[in-house]
Symmetry: C2
Subunit: 547 residues, 2 copies
C-alpha cells in the first residue's frame, strides 16, 4: 500500500524557483573574470536563467542532451547551470585545469552539443575547436562586443541571448531520476569516467548538506564558494545557498591569498569552503600583511587531508572553526565531516585535534563500510585498515556509458578506492589510496602516513613512500626523499626521525634520495610513475634474506 | 535519460539504523507513565524495535496492515513505531484526547489489527473492546506482571514480546512510497479523515526540518518532545532526533508546568517543541516558583497562534528564542516558521515582534499560494487575505480510503482551510479559518483578529465573532462576549475598546452578551454551533436598511 502524499518530484529547478520566490533580493556577488565586482540577486539569476533556457530550446536542445560549461565560479555560470538543468538537459562541468587532450577526450566522450565558456578559456577553444565535432555552438559568458573581439568564429554572446529571449521557459515536469549533471573524475588510472548526477541525487544531497551538523547554511550566512563549480558541484553550494537564501560570493578566476582575503572582508563572508592549498595561500598572505578575519566563522576543508597547521592557525589566530570533510566526485561529494560530538567538544582543544585531523562521520543518507580485501568487515577500533565503501542516494551506481563496468559490490556499496580506519567514536580517517597501500605480511601499511611524517623533516622538500616487492613480506616500504636545495642527508637520519612516530614494522626498509618526485596534473604525487621507475628495485632486506 | 546514482529508497527504518550505527550510545530519557525516569539509547531502541518487529511478523502482520498506538511520548512508543514501520506496516497514532466514540470510529475506519497502548488507557480499552472488531490483539507497554493485573483479557506484554523474540528482523527493502504512518485530523466538520504518510514523505520532511533555519537540530542538542507523537508525528522529532543523534527526552503523561520544568532542568534540555498552552503552564509555574532555565536555548511553538506574552517572557526573562511555526496533520506537519531574515534580525527586538507573531516563511519543499475564492493569486502586501494553499513532497494528496474526495486544486495545491496574509518579506500570517472568515462587500474580515482583541477587554472571559447574513454586505461581524463572573458591560464599551485597533469597516454591527460560548473537543471555540444558534439573527444595521 502506498502513502497518499503529493507527487512532487525532487528536481533542482525548484530550488532556484524557491530562491526567486522567497529570497528574491538576496545578493550573489561575483569577481568577474574581467576584474570588477558584479552584483545580482537570486531573483535576477532566476530570470536570466529562464531566458537562457529559451535560447537553449531555440537551439534544439532536448532533454538528456549534454551542454558543457568551462568557467570559473560566477553568477553567470550559475545561470547557465539552471538554464540547462531546468529543461532536463545535462550540465557537464569541465575542469579547465586538465590538459587539453584530456578535455577534448571528455567533451567528445560526453558528446557535448554546446559549451558555455569564460573568455579566459578562449586559447583552448580556438586551438582545439576542430577536435570537438559534437560541439555545435560555443556561448561565451560575455557581451556582444567582447564576443565579436574574441576571435572564435561563430561564438555567441550569452548577454545577447539573454537580451533576446523571454523569461517564460517552463522548467521541470520530468521524473526526478532525470540526469541533471555530469562530472568526470580526474582518472589517475585509465581514461576519465563520468559521474551522471540525477535531479533527485542533487536535491537530496542539498537537503543533507543543509543539516546543522553538515554545512548548516542559514539565510544569515554569506558564503564564499572558493571550491569550483567544476569540482563536484562546488560541494553543492550552488544548490544549497539558493535553497536557504544564503548570500553567495563567487571568486571568479582569482583564488590567491590577497584576492580571497579581500572578498572575505569586503563582502563580510561568514562561511567558506575550499581545498587546503587555498587556505595555505590565504594564511601565508595574512601572516605577511597582518590581515584579520572579522566576519568569517567557519570553513569546510576537503579534497585532501587538512594539515594541523591550518586548523591551528584558523583557531588560534583568527577564531575560525575548521570542519574537515571527505568526499569525492562519486559522492556528490559530501561523504563525512569532522563535526565534533558532544564528548569531543568537551575536551580541551589539543585533545580535540586528533579528531579534527580525521575526515569524520557521515550524515544520514551516507552508509560506510570498511572491509579487508576479502570483503570482511573491519573493526571500528581506529587501528584496523580497510577499504572504504559507501552507499547512499547521492553515491554513483555506475559511470556514464557504462565505463568501468559494474562498480558496486554485492551489497550495493561503491568502493571509494580509499583505505581508511574508523575509531570507536565513529570518526573515519583516510589512511591511503587502496592502490598505494603497502601490503606487508597480510597487514596494511599507510604510505601516506609515513611520507607525511618524513616530509616534516627539516631537510626534506618532498617525500614519497611506495611498496616494493619483497620475497617474504610480499611488499615492504621504500622511502624516497627529495632534499631541499643545498641539503645533504642520510638514510639513518630519516629512519631515526621516523622512529617512535610510526610502528616498528612500518619502518621503511630503505631510503633513496632523488632529484625529482613526479607530480600529477592535480598536484598529487604520481605514485604510479614512481612505482614504474622503481620496478624491480632490490631492497637490502630482500637481498639479505636471499643470501 | 536517467542519472546513474544509486537506487536508495528513502525509508524511515534507515533513520533508526543510522542512529544505531553512529549514535549508538546517545540517550533517550522517558518519564514513564508509572512515574520513574527510565533511560535507554538509540542503540537500545533499535534492538528492541527489531525484536518487536519479529513479534508483529509472528502475528501475521503484513505490509500495509494498520497497527495502532495509543500512548504518550516514550522510548517504548518509539520502539513500537519503528517496529511497525520497519516491516512496511502502517503505524496509526491514536489521539487519546478524543472522545471514545471518535476513537472507536477511527480505529474501525482504519481497520487496525493490533493496538499498542499505555496502561493509562486501560479504561477506554476495557470499556470499548467489544466495539473494535478489527483489533485482534492489544499489546500493553508493560511487563508481564502489570499486564496480568490489567484486567484486559488477552492483553499481551510488550516486554515479554521483546524478551522472547530475536533482534534479527529484516527492515526495509520496499518502495519509498510505501505507506508508513496514519494520523486522523480532528475533523471539526464531518468525520475525522486519515492522512496516510509515506516513508518518502517522512524522510524528506525529516531532512527538511533539520535545516539550520527550520528545526536545526544537532548532535549537541538535548530535545524535549512535549508535542505528542499522535499529534502529527511529534512534528517529526522522533525521526529527526535519531537522524542527527540528538539526545531525546520524553515527558510521558505529565505535561504540567512543574513536570516540564523539572525535565528541562535535570536533563539539561536545549531545544523543545509544544503548543502554546504547555508554555503558558510552564511560564506560570516558573513565575510562581521563581524557576530558571539554565540550558534551554530555543522552543518551536505551533498548533495555534503564539501570544506575544509567551514570546516576551521567554526572551526577556529566560533568554530563550521562540520560533513560531505553522503546520497541520496534512503537512507532516511543518509548513512555515518565523525564523528571522537578516533584515529582521537587524531590528530592535520590539520591531521584530510583528514578525515573531506571524507564522513565517516556508523552507525549500513547501510551496505556498494565496488566492481569493475564485482562485486568483492575492498580492504579498501583508494586507490582502487569501485562502492558503500548499504543495510539496510531504503534503497530503488525498485522504485514506478516498474520504473527502479530490482535495487538490488544478495546480495540485491542497487548500489548508486557513485564511492568511503574506507580507513583502514573505512572512505568512494565519488570519482565520476559511469557514469562519466574514465576507463583507466582497472583502474578508478576520473573525479571529476581532475576537482576540475583544477577549483582551478586562471584563471579558471569552469572545467570539461570527458573520451574520446582511442584505447589503452579504455578511457583517457579530461579537459575542461572555463576561467574567459578576461583571456587567455594554455594547458601546466593547466597540469603543475595538475602536482604533481594527479597521472601521471591521467594526462589529452588534454585540451580544451570552452566558456560554461553546468549545469543541480540542478546546477551540465551536463556531459552527454558534452560527447554528444565531442563524437568522437580525442585525440592527440590517433592520435599519430594511425600513
Amino acid at each position: 500500500m502506498h502513502g497518499l502524499m503529493q507527487d512532487w518530484p525532487l528536481t533542482v529547478d525548484k530550488i532556484l524557483d524557491h530562491a526567486a520566490t522567497w529570497h528574491h533580493g538576496r545578493e550573489v556577488v561575483t569577481r568577474s573574470v574581467e576584474g570588477p565586482i558584479v552584483r545580482t540577486t537570486w531573483g535576477g539569476i532566476h530570470e536570466r536563467a529562464k531566458r537562457l533556457s529559451n535560447a537553449l530550446l531555440g537551439f534544439g536542445i532536448q532533454p538528456g542532451d549534454r551542454v558543457a560549461t568551462l568557467a570559473w565560479n560566477s553568477g553567470r555560470h550559475i545561470e547557465a547551470w539552471y538554464a540547462i538543468m531546468g529543461i532536463g538537459a545535462v550540465c557537464h562541468t569541465l575542469n579547465p585545469r586538465l590538459f587539453a587532450d584530456q578535455l577534448c577526450y571528455i567533451i567528445n566522450h560526453a558528446q557535448d552539443r554546446i559549451i558555455f565558456a569564460d573568455v579566459t578559456f578562449l586559447p583552448f577553444l580556438v586551438e582545439n575547436r576542430e577536435r570537438l565535432p559534437s560541439v555545435e555552438r560555443i556561448i561565451l559568458f560575455a557581451d556582444a562586443d567582447q564576443t565579436a573581439a574574441a576571435g572564435l568564429p561563430g561564438a555567441l554572446s550569452s548577454e545577447t541571448l539573454i537580451d533576446t529571449h523571454a523569461a517564460d521557459a517552463v522548467w521541470g515536469g520530468f521524473d526526478e531520476k532525470t540526469a541533471c549533471g555530469l562530472c568526470y573524475t580526474s582518472g589517475t588510472t585509465g581514461n576519465p569516467k563520468g559521474v551522471l548526477y540525477s535531479h533527485r541525487s542533487n536535491f537530496i544531497h542539498t537537503l543533507s548538506t543543509l543539516q546543522s551538523d553538515v554545512m548548516g547554511l542559514s539565510i544569515n550566512d554569506t558564503v564564499l564558494a572558493v571550491v569550483p563549480m567544476f569540482h563536484a558541484n562546488a560541494w553543492g553550494l550552488t544548490f544549497s545557498c539558493p535553497a536557504v537564501g544564503a548570500r553567495l560570493v563567487m571568486p571568479g578566476a582569482k583564488m590567491d591569498g590577497a584576492s580571497i582575503h579581500e572578498l572575505l572582508e569586503t563582502e563580510k563572508v561568514t562561511f567558506s569552503a575550499a581545498v587546503p592549498t587555498v587556505w595555505q595561500m590565504l594564511l601565508a598572505h595574512m601572516r605577511e600583511t597582518k590581515g584579520t578575519l572579522t566576519t568569517l566563522k567557519r570553513v569546510v576543508i576537503g579534497g585532501s587531508a587538512v594539515p594541523e597547521a591550518i586548523i591551528r592557525a584558523f583557531h588560534d589566530d583568527y577564531g575560525v572553526e575548521v570542519v574537515h570533510a571527505w568526499g569525492m566526485t562519486e559522492t556528490s561529494p559530501l561523504g563525512t565531516l569532522s563535526t565534533p560530538t558532544p564528548e569531543i567538544s568537551a575536551l580541551p582543544f589539543d585533545d580535540q585535534m586528533p579528531f579534527k585531523l580525521k575526515q569524520g562521520r557521515p550524515p544520514l543518507g551516507m552508509q560506510l563500510k570498511l572491509t579487508d580485501d576479502a570483503g570482511n568487515p573491519q573493526p571500528r577500533d581506529g587501528m584496523a585498515f580497510g577499504r572504504l565503501k559507501v552507499r547512499g542516494p547521492y553515491v554513483a551506481g555506475s559511470y556514464f556509458k557504462g565505463d568501468g563496468g559494474e562498480i558496486l559490490d554485492e551489497e550495493g556499496y561503491f568502493d571509494t578506492g580509499d583505505v581508511a580506519t574508523i575509531d570507536h567514536t565513529g570518526f573515519m580517517q583516510i589512511t591511503d589510496r587502496a592502490k598505494d597501500v603497502i601490503k606487508s605480511g597480510g597487514e596494511w601499511i599507510s604510505s601516506i602516513e609515513i611520507e607525511n611524517i618524513a616530509a616534516g623533516h627539516p631537510k626534506a622538500l618532498l617525500a614519497a613512500v611506495i611498496g616494493v616487492t619483497h620475497p617474504k613480506w610480499d611488499e615492504r616500504p621504500l622511502l624516497l626523499v627529495k632534499l631541499k636545495e643545498g641539503e645533504t642527508g642520510t638514510a639513518a637520519e630519516f629512519l631515526g626521525f621516523l622512529d617512535g612516530k610510526i610502528a616498528k614494522w612500518w619502518m621503511p626498509d630503505d631510503v633513496v634520495f632523488v632529484d625529482d618526485i613526479p607530480l600529477g596534473a592535480t598536484g598529487k604525487i604520481d605514485k604510479k610513475l614512481i612505482r614504474q621507475r622503481f620496478e624491480g628495485y632490490l631492497l637490502p632486506s630482500a637481498t639479505a634474506r636471499r643470501i
